[in-house]
Symmetry: C2
Subunit: 309 residues, 2 copies
């Protein structure tokens, strides 16, 4: 363990190359995801699942999961099945969110949404298939050197992050808030804590659990990820206003059109950006006890607020 105040002196800190790191990690995540779902009969459902899963996201979630496992002394191999699972869960939530009965989006990551290609019925089933497979994948693919009780804890966390106590619950409140201009900060925070932060937290915490993190360290990881989760959402809201459709790869300005209450609509863009910056700093501070091992997660935190799409 390296004391926090020694951190500045370490050359690794200065030389950590996030761009190269992300590129390498994205590559291994892409390969693992591609391998995770082969195409067999009935081909259409596997193609539909793969269409959205391999649509070229930034893979922030699986990379967070792998990075946390490594920071806590584990290996990439220990966390890779869980890293793939969180991306499957994230992807299925996007497929269902984009459905006409939900957000009714035609584009996602610059490509037509799943139901625009495969039809609503297959899109619903592709989401269901990805969700079920995520749990099967963690249960069957996690290597033998990870104790079974850790794998069960991971499955419990993933289920909770996705279900009514997590992403689904956040989406319900979000749908309920649409068209209302009097949404409180409390409600907005509930939506984002559940719709975005819960799964990000699961990525980070599960990476730690797989490596055998202590309860105290799991709590640090929770606080780190809650902070970056909220910052992530604030930046998302800002980008919806300031970025173009080309940059986002999805319909831009939807929140304004829908008169949606967002952080920028409550605080203004500058105040929102400053709040996101504070959250990222607080997140990084949580990881100071881990010294230079924390560099990837700290750099990832900063990456989240500097992204423009």
């Amino acid at each position: 363990m390296v004391a926090a105040d020694n951190l500045q002196k370490m050359p690794e800190k200065a030389t950590f190359n996030l761009v190269a790191y992300l590129k390498e990690r994205q590559k291994i995540c892409e390969a693992a995801l591609d391998k995770a779902i082969p195409i067999i009969y009935p081909e259409k459902i596997y193609e539909s699942m793969r269409y959205s899963l391999l649509a070229g996201g930034k893979r922030v979630r699986p990379i967070l999961c792998l990075a946390t496992c490594e920071m806590m002394g584990g290996t990439i191999e220990m966390a890779m099945p869980t890293a793939c699972a969180v991306e499957m869960i994230h992807t299925m939530s996007l497929i269902h969110d984009d459905l006409p009965a939900m957000d009714n989006d035609d584009y996602r990551r610059g490509k037509l949404t799943n139901h625009k290609i495969y039809g609503e019925d297959i899109a619903i089933l592709a989401g269901d298939g990805l969700l079920a497979y995520a749990f099967e994948f963690v249960a069957t693919q996690t290597p033998e050197n990870v104790p079974k009780d850790r794998v069960l804890k991971v499955i419990a966390r993933l289920g909770r992050a996705m279900g009514a106590a997590g992403l689904v619950g956040g989406q319900v409140v979000d749908l309920d808030s649409e068209g209302k201009s009097d949404i409180s900060l409390e409600t907005l925070t509930f939506i984002h804590n559940h719709k975005t932060a819960a799964l990000l937290e699961a990525c980070v915490v599960c990476g730690g659990i797989l490596a055998g993190a202590s309860l105290e360290n799991v709590q640090k990881l929770s606080r780190y990820s809650q902070n970056i989760g909220l910052a992530f959402q604030i930046i998302d809201d800002i980008l919806d206003i300031t970025a173009t459709q080309e940059q986002l790869g999805k319909t831009a300005g939807k929140d304004l059109v829908a008169k949606k209450v967002t952080y920028p609509s409550l605080w203004g863009i500058e105040e929102s950006r400053s709040k996101a910056q504070q959250l990222i700093e607080a997140a990084c501070k949580e990881l100071e006890p881990f010294g230079e091992l924390a560099q990837p997660l700290q750099a990832l935190a900063h990456f989240i607020i500097s992204r423009n799409h």
Copy 2:
């Protein structure tokens, strides 16, 4: 272990009261399911999940799971979280199947379908929430006296039974076959093996795994459940023709209207009934080595083909 040919002499065989057994088991399953999902904020999603989960099904799947666990030397407590999970998975598949983009059904178990009450968006999310919660529930609620590796095997089986290799895959082929009158027996069998039998098999096999069944016994359980699964579907097809909407609690005669290929349409009603009978006898024969302990599962097999709704 009781030899099969001694079975007839045992008084328990004659006195096993399936009606009383089912009534008692349904009651404890209802209580466990009711307790599994409390209503908290945001209430709408929990109410929607509970609306379909507690809509009064026959609870065949959880009862099969509990009965198998007991037959293999386990307890009800060991299997109850998995029993609840299979009913959650079954229920979520019904909610999504009933959606306008899928089978577009207004009634299920004699009540309005989930989306008719809560809207399509909430119905999609309620299904997602139930599916995620099923895995969380098994991972967190299975008692400590069940070894963790068994719980992981159960989660893997449930995931597979629900996903593209199971229920979802069967539904895809089923949707693809709609309106076609030249569906082969092979395709029809694929649909039912995946849409119906896979989850029934998971119920039975998971009950056995939780109790520590040997590989050989798991294979017996697989054959038992594959047979009853197919018989179950044949009877379902017959009932769609012969039963009234009141008896079924859902729209009757849909297959005929949709010109759907079914077992009765291929074989006729009498031949189908006789095939179902043979499957049930083969299923019961698999369990003969377990002697009188197999009575509930054997009686349940016969119940499946004698039901009229």
